[in-house]
Amino acid sequence: MSVPVTTFDDALRGAGLFPLRASAVRVLQINVGRLCNLACRHCHVEAGPSRREVMSATTAALCMHVLAQTTIPVVDITGGAPELNPSFRWMVERSRALGREVTVRSNLTIMLVPSQADLPPFLADHEVEIVASLPYFTAGPTDAQRGAGVFERSIEAIRMLNALGYGEADGRLRLHFVYNPAGAYLPPAQHAIEADFRRELGRRYGIVFNALYTIANMPIGRFREFLEASGNYDRYMVRLAEAYKPSAAANVMCRTTLSVGWDGALYDCDFNQMLGLAIDRGAPTRLQEFSLERLMERRIVTGPHCYGCTAGAGSSCRGVVS
């Protein structure tokens, strides 16, 4: 067995999608740093407590300056644990004041850190949408991926959020979970596993949530290390390529997302950011050079890892794409 012989660009050619271009910038995804209270085994960011890459107040202000110059409707704040960035709350307040939707990608356990005791009500007050990592509805697979005791703490945090009104059907406080496979395999059908989560979390813990997003593990960062150490890398890459769907490629998130790094560099997605694959071919590469006109139809930088977003029903920061 060997890694895919069809390059991702050739796969795009086969679907008439080459060269892949952005179609708009609907989401400004800001990665505010790699500092995190957890060090999950699948983390493509390789985030953890010892990381020192943290977005400065100056760069955070530049992000908000750029946002104010545009009508980009959604701000998606990620990390690391984005809540640990000293500018996080100011960015939330500023984005909301500009009338934009704000999503935070949370590991949930951060809400139990003593210094973050007032975080849940802050998020509720600003109607921040929470997309939270919860790879399974039992402790075993969750703790295997995210660390001992993480499941139990996550449940405690979810109960706090539910008590504030997060996760209620048709409510204004939206709480979504993210399923990641706890190993070298693709995610299940999103609708099927969402039904399992809803039934089991409700039955066992009385928990409610709005939606479950299934996200494939990308073959980069710590997950790539796991694939290589376990002898699964080649097989996983072949699996991703075999599951390639043109309909998923047509809807990949990078076509409508712009990713900002902790240091103000611009990328097509958070995965390219972690691989150091900066935007190129003439489009602006840093916040200081931001030009929506030049970025909204930019050519996307691709690589073998892109198969991770086009396998099966596709994968994005919002789950399946087709």
Binding site: T138, Y185, A189
Partner: protein, 110 residues
Amino acid sequence: MDGYYHQHDLPRFAEMGHHAPELWKRFSEWYGAVFAEGALTEREKALIALGVAHAVQCPYCIDAYTQVCLEKGSNLDQMTEAVHVASAIRGGASLVHGLQMRNAAAKVSM
């Protein structure tokens, strides 16, 4: 040949169509239809397949349907129970043949 079973042979399964393409085509179409969602979900069918794979002790099938079960959202508790179901039927099938032994013994016994 250093052994009969090799993981790298599994992706070569389609070579079985090289000298019987029409039969392979019919098998592939039927196989695909069998595992498509119907009265049973794809996940339920994968669990049945995993159990049968153990009953027929096919390492290729065990490898393939372990992966499929995980990708359909089954967990190890469910997959282990599926293997127990297959094992119980295998064990029970042997045991129930004990009645043939009893019948045969009765026939020749006074």
